[in-house]
Subunit: 183 residues, 2 copies
DNA sequence: ACCTGAACACCGTTCAAGT
DNA sequence: ACCTGAACACCGTTCAAGT
């Protein structure tokens, strides 16, 4: 890759992080290009879809979550590992308001730039869930997709200003439900 | 109101119901006006905001939900009344994909055209919840806003194509959590 | 009173023309 | 190779002009 191309690529990601932080995942792509000091066509050359651009932002975070799951898998009790990871996953997802819908859509769309990262994250959660289930510390009738769905829904909830004040408490309720051994 | 104004008003609602059904709550207002055979300014005269237009569509449904709560309050056991209403509330909310965000925003914005309807719906749910709590059939650490939030989040989940297949099951999990007497 | 549609300031996306 | 920005087809919203 040519030096100028690489610089543009990097500046686009920097600008995107700022703009998405301010306006959410539906932020204007024109504004990203503007802020990066780059033509609009250059943005499309580097990131042909909005997903591709977000993937550039989120990949490192996804990887961190998967790594965290591996760490918890050995460092904590099955129940505590699962609960901690659930809470951290929700907290992290709330940060990217608007990205939750994209994440959810990407998990069943193999063509999405976010697909691989989503699948990896689900796999990490599945590991923790299975371990907790084997220890009798989580409901047996849940799978990794359910966990992913619950994290997404609670993150959506936390991103709604009107509901955010109760989000932590409601997450407690859901965590209780996930960890109830019966059914 | 003049006869032509009334006819335009009604046709706008008919068109809006169709267009929102097809494209969700973010549907193009231009398309609504087009489909109603009406100038764009006429739409804005009758419904000055998008909320006002949606309110026209949703008010009857909100009222039905409140009435349903009253009915269940006398016809069913406290637990069953709450659970049935929760399920029906989620099922109904899923129908209006995209409207969930608006509903949630409206409940704390007194200027929203949807505000009164949202508050009434929350009040109806609060009645059922309180009754169930007094019967020891629901967690004591939940209030009407929590119920509203959980309904919204589960409706959001059900509206995501990738998660919809598990939505019913996850609602069961949440219902179990709401009805767990402890904590 | 009520209606219309042009006008304005924005989008996302594509692509001919430049270096 | 890579970049630019005009062009196209859309938005939401406002408002002067018409009946």
């Amino acid at each position: 890759m040519r030096a100028d191309a690489r610089r543009n690529h990097d500046q686009l990601l920097v600008a995107a992080r700022a703009v998405v932080g301010e306006h959410g995942a539906e932020a204007s792509l024109r504004e990203v290009a503007r802020r990066a000091g780059v033509g609009l066509g250059t943005l499309y050359r580097h990131f042909p879809t909005r997903d591709a651009l977000l993937e550039g932002l989120l990949r490192t975070e996804f990887d961190a979550l998967a790594a965290r799951a591996a760490e918890l898998g050995t460092a904590a009790s099955p129940r505590e590992a699962l609960v901690t990871w659930l809470r951290e996953g929700v907290a992290w997802t709330v940060e990217y308001r608007g990205a939750t819908e994209l994440m959810v859509a990407a998990i069943e769309d193999p063509d999405s730039a976010l697909h691989a990262s989503c699948v990896a994250m689900r796999a990490a959660g599945t590991g923790l869930l299975t371990r907790a289930q084997e220890a009798g510390a989580a409901r047996a009738d849940l799978d990794g997709t359910d966990l992913f769905a619950l994290i997404s829904a609670m993150a959506w909830l936390g991103a709604q200003p009107a509901l955010a004040p109760r989000a932590d408490h409601l997450l407690d309720v859901v965590v209780d439900a996930v960890c109830a051994p019966r059914s």
